[in-house]
Symmetry: C2
Subunit: 207 residues, 2 copies
């Protein structure tokens, strides 16, 4: 008997597996059908308990959303800073490259949570709160892009505001198709950073 099977047997009265597991399952459902199209009935069925039992763990549908978006935003913001012990980047361009790399990594690690965040429309106070925090994050990226252009590290003629939007768009679009374990995505964070600075389809060097 494996230890996980033992653990299973030790808690037969808790098929839901605790709030974290419930949140994980709920986020998957939200992403599969969209937040608004997902009912509490759907969530409880996916968790293997009844609707009423679900309300014992979360105050309601929006509380679930809030918890999920909080996790996604915390992950995103963590990509802004170098891990402790790493020497600081020499210029804004290099700092951006590191942030893009880390942001893609966060996106891959917390895919369902970040995906949910990126689809928020602003229908409820919780959603508007998330949109505001996202906006603050995007502003940090835009400021760095401006700094890189001002420092002369980027080719003349590039509009910083436009470049910042395209950068975020390219990075975030990974959530539309990436799935864990997908072939050819081992170096995805670096590949996306390369696409940002050299192009998605860079011209071949003349032979």
């Amino acid at each position: 008997m494996t230890s996980s099977a033992q653990a299973e047997a030790r808690r037969p009265r808790r098929p839901s597996g605790g709030p974290e597991s419930l949140l994980d399952k709920a986020v998957l459902e939200f992403n599969a059908r969209g937040y608004d199209a997902t009912s509490m009935e759907d969530l409880s069925r996916a968790a293997g308990i009844t609707k009423s039992s679900f309300y014992h763990h979360f105050a309601g549908k929006e509380a679930l959303l809030r918890a999920a978006l909080e996790r996604a935003l915390d992950g995103l913001f963590s990509a802004l800073d170098d891990p402790p012990g790493v020497e600081p980047a020499v210029g804004p361009s290099e700092r951006l490259r590191r942030i893009v790399t880390r942001q893609v990594r966060v996106l891959m690690d917390d895919l369902p949570y970040v995906t949910l965040l990126l689809r928020v429309r602003g229908n409820t106070p919780t959603e508007r709160w998330a949109l505001q925090r996202r906006k603050a994050y995007d502003a940090e990226i835009a400021a760095l892009v401006r700094a890189a252009v001002d420092a002369g590290e980027i080719r003349a003629g590039v509009d910083p505001a436009l470049a910042a939007r395209l950068l975020s768009g390219l990075v975030n679009s990974v959530s539309e198709w990436y799935r864990p374990g997908r072939r050819g995505t081992a170096s995805l964070p670096e590949d996306v950073a390369r696409a940002i600075f050299a192009g998605v389809l860079p011209a071949a060097d003349p032979a």
Copy 2:
């Protein structure tokens, strides 16, 4: 009195302005709140008629969605071909550049329709039909990217499947922020094409 004001006066019994106008207004509502979160009540209020009157023009909510997605998909596919009278592109790379440029233009012209399409999740038969057609479109793009790589026009080492996904992601991300009349977007189609082939943040030429 302007001619549009005359037309207004000539049809006082038709405040809805016909099915096309209804569809326009409905798509705006869908995008503002999300398709599922938008009720028929919301739609009829935005159109200035009652819910019942709305049902006189469209069979239901899904019929509206179908009509809107059809228009978006027709626009997208129209970007695949050169307009009549234009000489064909010399290679796959140049053909891709033209398609990207035209696709961004379609996105800008039919922004609400394309936005709606890009947010479809697959909850209903209509949505799954739209997803299938989108998939077919993406496959055409992916085939062209492969051809460009095989022709040696793209720098060695670029994975065609990944590049195709990033290309579509970058192009489609424009729908997340573009609004008609926005400053600095006059040359957006060309700017996006340049970002694809040279990078969002191309390094400055060494002085």
